[in-house]
Assembly symmetry: C2
Homo-oligomer: 375 residues x 2
Amino acid sequence: MTRVVGVIGGGQLARMMTPPALNLGLEIYVLAQNSYESAKIAISELGSHTDPDAVLAFARECDVVTFDHEHVPQEVLAVLTDAGVNVQPHPQALLFAQDKLAMRTRLAELGVPVPGWARVQSPAELDAFIAEYGSRAVVKTARGGYDGKGVRVVSSAAEVSEWFADLTGDDALLAEEFVTFRRELAQQIARTPSGETRVWPVVETVQENGVCSEVISPAPNAAGRIETVAADIALTIAQGLDVTGVLAVELFETEDDRVLVNELAMRPHNSGHWSIDGALTSQFEQHLRAVLDLPLGLTTPLAPWTVMVNILGGPLSGDLDGALARAMREYPEAKFHLYGKEPRPGRKIGHVNVVGDDLAATVAVARGAAGFFQD
Amino acid sequence: MTRVVGVIGGGQLARMMTPPALNLGLEIYVLAQNSYESAKIAISELGSHTDPDAVLAFARECDVVTFDHEHVPQEVLAVLTDAGVNVQPHPQALLFAQDKLAMRTRLAELGVPVPGWARVQSPAELDAFIAEYGSRAVVKTARGGYDGKGVRVVSSAAEVSEWFADLTGDDALLAEEFVTFRRELAQQIARTPSGETRVWPVVETVQENGVCSEVISPAPNAAGRIETVAADIALTIAQGLDVTGVLAVELFETEDDRVLVNELAMRPHNSGHWSIDGALTSQFEQHLRAVLDLPLGLTTPLAPWTVMVNILGGPLSGDLDGALARAMREYPEAKFHLYGKEPRPGRKIGHVNVVGDDLAATVAVARGAAGFFQD
């Protein structure tokens, strides 16, 4: 019997799970809200990820259910587990990717290095935190943030007064130390329900306006302590939180040589897109193997360097066909990934991967190829 | 507007075109006879490739139409071209992959090295041919043969008497010299309507019972004369026959050091499956680029050696899931490709690719991984 992997959410991550699902002889079913979403080829049901009936009906057709995003409410996930659905990662693990306060609390228990932080329920608590850590702090809503949304750097609680006003009951905001970092890193790991784990090389990520723009794999000058620390952190988190599937740990490398955990994602992640063309087993194939509790594949790089550059919609990026053809002509070595999404300014609509022996040349090709889509 | 590539036929070649179509931001539509076929995820219409109405209705939804197999009748192809459908490769080119007598005639005109051959319409003509070339000959039906079907080695015309009996009108059989070969090679090339071409390294292919079983890329000991001759032959054929898309040229390397053309396939081909994991641009991505007249990608190998071993259905190969899990555990470096087909003895149901630095070790891993599916 062909095994069916169900993916809740029809975005580009579900789309990019489709090629390895086909390779491995699997079927992939997607629950999406709209028929035109990025993963449209695999959509088997239309419905909302917040509708327990729709999600359960979808899940009953699948051997395992996993996710394109982290927005499925815990109440809906509970309906699935109560019905005996095989959900990977487990809702208890996924909670830590959904709730930043829960995540910080659990990471502190595990002894994982994190920026200074506090749970703040009032402007007074936040102002006290700011005073403790100098002149400013990062404030995050516990839930719902992504790509820089729900995150604000402030020097006074007054700058997030409306977030405090929106808090109800026992809700709180997360206040974090403003970390002066040398660079950002990301460490990906896959873990199966049986407990097998494999890490990819730690990568360097570059963000612009809170959105990932480039990834270099492996992170330059990370061999030795940094790569070991990053892999150890990811393993500690994956095991400590009982994560299954792919886990991405976003990290700060600080000016004073610490490695601190910034964010978690329990799914394939932008920081791992390089692996589609740059590693023996991509994050998408590994995620499928992991959620099915199949043995994991080697993550060995296929070249000394892989560089990923995101393609963001620009003001004039309507002619994707033309841009693709021009970029292909100029850069026959580039691997293009387009997500079938309408280009809107700043929206991630694809990425370019380039493998190479020389880092500077590889970066130049990847930027050059992605640049054609900005016209 | 997202471009739509239409593929006639729902087999594993259409299935394997789907991942690169997704990568490149394309839509892929498949016309298949049955909803359970290998490329089911991309099936948009059910219908026969011999039904001109069904094929035309399908084709009108597509920006370009290409093929999973070579069995679409010329009469049906004429309906498409008469209606202005963009068909790649062109029917005039495809004819040479459909009709072995037409192919041999045209290759002879182009001066491409081929085994001795003759068009034979009677047992007497065949017996004369056999006498001319020694004690035996290869006899082929002009149309309809694949994977060893429609091919027979004979020492007397009596051994194909029923084929002669089936001939009507001006039909004929193809008689060919029985070539004593050292090994078989295959040369793949892609060509766009604009005339751009790119070749992959010439590969060595091993057949068992007329079916491809292993491919080694590049062919060992082919650097220099052999690789140059093979690439020149493929380029001459691609240009001379006005082929677009991917062309596979099956070759004999003879005991007396000649390189002779055996068969042609105008589509991605088993001899190129290694390229999915072993080349910067796979045959499937290149075929899509070519039929859309997009610039072609580099075909650079990703490792010194890539070995492909086919997975054939065996007498006990019902438990594919178990075989896959066991093979993955033993060989985490192997890339598995399963086609979603019911295993039947001798049926191609998948393949394994392995890349490596050492040929003997790479062969051993690929055979070992594929071997799990034979139990």
